[in-house]
């Protein structure tokens, strides 16, 4: 009787140890995951560049053109291939704001292909031929104090890197606190009285 009790006690102790070890392992995983999710420290002096599509607003740059968006010597630059560099002083940037857009991929050739597909099967292709992009909206001022806006489209996750780089150089990241503004499908309305 007494022995049986001791055996049971041992078993429960063993189970507790297993629970403890499992908890420790989970804690380790959790710490590892949280360490991965925190953004790495940004070196403000290191040059940074990424591919981007200029949608509108940057000086001396065509709309809807692809190029390299880079940060060098406190200048935000956009370089198209074969075109002169367009740049804006980072000190003149007032806000950096992130967004997110879902767009159809493939451009005009894809559109023609979808239109030419028989029995409206191009519509099915449209269901899958879309991708999400980040949008980076900048507000900067010119030498007269006039407000300018510029809009870039980047691959998913890249806009936050640019924002971190610009914020590390002392620019305010906007009212969105760095969170991307997602489009919801619900209708929002404001009535003016």
């Amino acid at each position: 009787m007494h022995r049986l009790f001791v055996v049971r006690k041992d078993k429960s102790g063993c189970f507790g140890r297993h629970v403890l070890s499992l908890w420790a392992v989970l804690c380790c995983f959790g710490i590892g995951a949280s360490a991965q999710s925190t953004s790495p420290a940004v070196n403000p002096n290191a040059p940074f560049s990424t591919q981007a599509t200029h949608l509108l607003g940057f000086p001396n740059t065509k709309n809807n053109c692809k190029g390299i968006l880079s940060i060098q010597n406190n200048e935000l630059r956009f370089q198209q291939s074969g075109e002169p560099v367009a740049e804006v002083d980072i000190a003149s940037i007032r806000h950096v704001l992130l967004g997110e857009e879902s767009m159809q991929v493939g451009g005009v050739p894809m559109k023609i292909g979808k239109a030419a597909a028989p029995f409206g099967s191009g519509r099915v292709v449209s269901l899958f031929a879309h991708a999400k992009y980040d949008t980076l909206a900048l507000e900067y001022v010119d030498s007269n104090g006039g407000v300018h806006g510029a809009l870039f489209q980047l691959k998913k996750g890249q806009a936050e890197l640019v924002r971190n780089q610009v914020v590390a150089r002392g620019v305010y990241s906007g009212s969105g606190e760095g969170q991307a503004t997602k489009q919801s499908t619900s209708e929002v309305e404001r009535e003016d009285k």
Partner: protein, 234 residues
């Protein structure tokens, strides 16, 4: 006998004279119709406009849309050649310009759409933007108050609605007529051709632009009282 022979000739000459008079009158009407628009554009050129940033109101409008509307609006207003200078908000040179109007744009309604939904269904997923555009003088008197819509219904990304909206706002401002010869007393009368349902359908069928002037408020009159020189006509 002689008179009966000359009767057809008399009728012929009378008809020719009538046609000639009618044609000359018509031509005169045409030239008369062209002249005021030339005059109006001439007086309009003396004004400048300063575009303020887009006010999203209480709506959760993406920042990219606000920036896109602002930039497109500046571009489209420049294209109209209606204003001497088109200035941005905060521009220091605005204080030196005497006849300056301020364009305020407030987002009234926003329906987010989806390009994928449009591509798949054709009939749904439209992105719709409705803004209230107010053109006011430096002392706060409103000379033009319009509600303008910009949509993208079939082709193009969601941001295209901002381009359509800016084009529609510029068109509304361009089509509104100036009243008064002197810039200091001039006012935009806001005589906008109300689109008929048919014209709306045609516009929508052709290039997806819809100008829907849903309201015309006589704020200038109500705010400034009966002695106000600025008036707004339908």
């Amino acid at each position: 006998m002689k008179t009966s022979k000359s009767n057809p000739w008399i009728f012929l000459v009378a008809a020719a004279v009538t046609i000639a008079v009618a044609l000359s009158g018509r031509l005169a009407c045409q030239t008369g119709a062209v002249k005021p628009s030339g005059e109006s554009s001439g007086s309009g050129n003396q004004w400048s406009v300063q575009v303020e940033r887009i006010d999203p109101g209480d709506l959760d409008l993406a920042h990219s849309f606000q920036v896109a509307i602002f930039e497109n609006l500046l571009e489209e207003l420049n294209k109209t050649k209606r204003f001497k200078y088109v200035l941005r908000e905060g521009d220091g040179s605005a204080s030196a310009i005497p006849d300056l109007l301020i364009l305020k744009t407030t987002v009234v309604k926003y329906t987010p759409g989806s390009e994928t939904q449009r591509a798949v269904t054709t009939v749904s997923g439209a992105t719709k933007l409705t803004v209230r555009s107010q053109l006011m003088t430096g002392d706060g008197k409103i000379v033009l108050d319009r509600t303008v819509q910009g949509n993208v219904r079939f082709f193009g990304s969601n941001l295209r609605s901002t381009h359509n909206l800016a084009r529609n706002i510029a068109k509304v401002i361009k089509e509104s007529q100036w009243r008064g010869s002197e810039p200091a007393n001039a006012a935009l009368t806001g005589q906008l051709k109300q689109p008929t349902p048919l014209s709306c359908c045609l516009m929508g069928a052709h290039d997806e632009k819809w100008i829907t002037v849903t309201e015309q408020r006589l704020i200038a009159q109500s705010m400034a009282g009966p002695s106000n020189s600025h008036e707004e006509d339908r």
